[in-house]
Symmetry: none
Subunit: 193 residues, 4 copies
Amino acid sequence: MRTRSGQKEQNIWQAAVREFARHGYHQAKISRIAEGAGVATGSVYLYFKNKKQLLEKILADVWQNLAQEMEALVTRKDLNAVEKLEGMVDLVIDMFTDNPSLAIVVVNEHSQTRIAQPYYERFLALGRQVLEEGIATGLLNPHLQVDVTSQFIFGGVRHLIHLWAQSPRQYPLNKIRREVKLLLKRGILTEVQ
Amino acid sequence: MRTRSGQKEQNIWQAAVREFARHGYHQAKISRIAEGAGVATGSVYLYFKNKKQLLEKILADVWQNLAQEMEALVTRKDLNAVEKLEGMVDLVIDMFTDNPSLAIVVVNEHSQTRIAQPYYERFLALGRQVLEEGIATGLLNPHLQVDVTSQFIFGGVRHLIHLWAQSPRQYPLNKIRREVKLLLKRGILTEVQ
Amino acid sequence: MRTRSGQKEQNIWQAAVREFARHGYHQAKISRIAEGAGVATGSVYLYFKNKKQLLEKILADVWQNLAQEMEALVTRKDLNAVEKLEGMVDLVIDMFTDNPSLAIVVVNEHSQTRIAQPYYERFLALGRQVLEEGIATGLLNPHLQVDVTSQFIFGGVRHLIHLWAQSPRQYPLNKIRREVKLLLKRGILTEVQ
Amino acid sequence: MRTRSGQKEQNIWQAAVREFARHGYHQAKISRIAEGAGVATGSVYLYFKNKKQLLEKILADVWQNLAQEMEALVTRKDLNAVEKLEGMVDLVIDMFTDNPSLAIVVVNEHSQTRIAQPYYERFLALGRQVLEEGIATGLLNPHLQVDVTSQFIFGGVRHLIHLWAQSPRQYPLNKIRREVKLLLKRGILTEVQ
DNA sequence: TATGAATGAGTATTCATTCAT
DNA sequence: TATGAATGAATACTCATTCAT
């Protein structure tokens, strides 16, 4: 008996990411995913219930991963809120650094992330939490609306990562990383008045 | 009396926006758009070449409109760069205020916008131009990377508008409007140093 | 605009009967039915919701037809119960005389006839009714269990028609017709004792 | 202790009968049969060439069994033709008495029985033989067409057994048994002329 | 023998687009 | 212009069968 292989599941996962990135969810073909993974079409269904669930698994994995690392970051005692926020930006950017296809999938198919997606919610909640912590400790502007602010930052970073995934030369990650941190902290105005 | 055909085209355009917003481009059905517009299925093809072009027309119209108003704003002599930036935020928000469906379509189907979309490019270029103007006049931080900065702001606003379109109560436009302007100018840090 | 044609629906109905008879419901292909009807595959779905409903329509039509003619027969005043029973046998046999394929479908796919099929139930009920009438008028053996008897006759006739449809030479309808009537009335024993 | 493999084959045979009865041949799944038999999917193929052959084996077993018992019955010297016919009815009914699933399979999948099925043919031939014997000995009506008559009886009994298998309460075997014998011998007319 | 993971052929159904009227 | 019936390409998913272990 051939034993069920975690490697095979990984191959399918990866091939699906590439296929979803290149063609989008609706134009993606299971047969092409299978081919990309080096398995037969039917084998995809041994590891994933159907096409939809395959996408959901990918998105869930990403958000779970991010939420987990965020959790660790947020609970650190040796960093203040601003440093944690910078760490969060780094986390998100690092997650996609060596998998541009994954970045494209996450951004483009984000609306498939059912709001119920608990890991995504957790991720957002941790962002708000750090903002609140910053306000409480006097580091951040107390007039900030934490929900709007966190979503604004999230949207901006998401968009930049998408641009990078499509044109890594034009939007290198380091430039993005630096610029986002600068904007976050100081805004766009001249520093000294 | 037969209605003028310009009216019929408008009806189809509007019905398509609603259909694309509700079901997304790939799940949208031409037959449902026709029904929503009160015309026969085949009639859609008298006004639009095909489904893809119908979406492209909608997106192009939006960007053309925005680019045009931006053009007028940017060339005003009575405003400085910061005031123009704030005006741009208002423009974008106002454009969608009374058509949440349109906001959803623009945000969700944005990746369908071939980069070639000239009006979209024009829109982005004007944003960069104002940033450069601000730097040149000493109002804005000279270390800003205008391309990254403008895209970051665009991404953030886009995301917030999407949230509003889905939960107008939770993310009211006025709150968004105020918060974005604040963040742009001052960042998140405590104002006094 | 091309107008929806009753003729086309008939062609599909007929082609489906042939296909179901030749290959059985589960092996029947919609594409072959369409080809047989001289229409495109998709057109089948303009007239019938799906494959299952196509079969159900055929069976319902047959039973409705039979039930209707049975109704007329049973209510005749000029025939006694035995003559009506003979008429029923004739009805069933005549229904299939010029459509052996239809006979095969009805017999083979009979289990698809959901018991709820009201026309089939009506058909059976009329059979029982005539038996009861015959008993009441003293023509038929009062010890008959009408439900078992009617089902027995129905099963026997059904089986013979199936044999005829597959080997018309070996089981000619006239022979079947004569023999069934004889058996019904007299049983198999020698007539005089 | 490993169970004897004959036992395993029997388990599969039985599980297949249940599966075919419940879902019909085409909807039956080998995997479900295997599960029902407590073996792995692949093991089914150690005992049976394929799905089709599994059904054929079941049907062949039934007919072989019946043919064999019929053979013994027909050659008895102590019974006349009518008694033998009654015995045949009993045989068929007894065969299914404690296995309604088997009855359903035999009835529903009967058309899968290629006419070539030798045991089935033998079964029919023995029926015809008894009828002829009855005619020769003056017990049965000499005008009977033995082939049509035997098939009529077979069809009627088959149908009644099917009804019993689905609704044992409504069509109890004893009632069926009694009624069929009565009808065979006397027909439906009032006994006295 | 026994397993159950792997294979891949096969098909109903949808719907954008066309076209006869 | 306007209609909506007709077209037919395109594809996710199932499951009988095989085969590596």
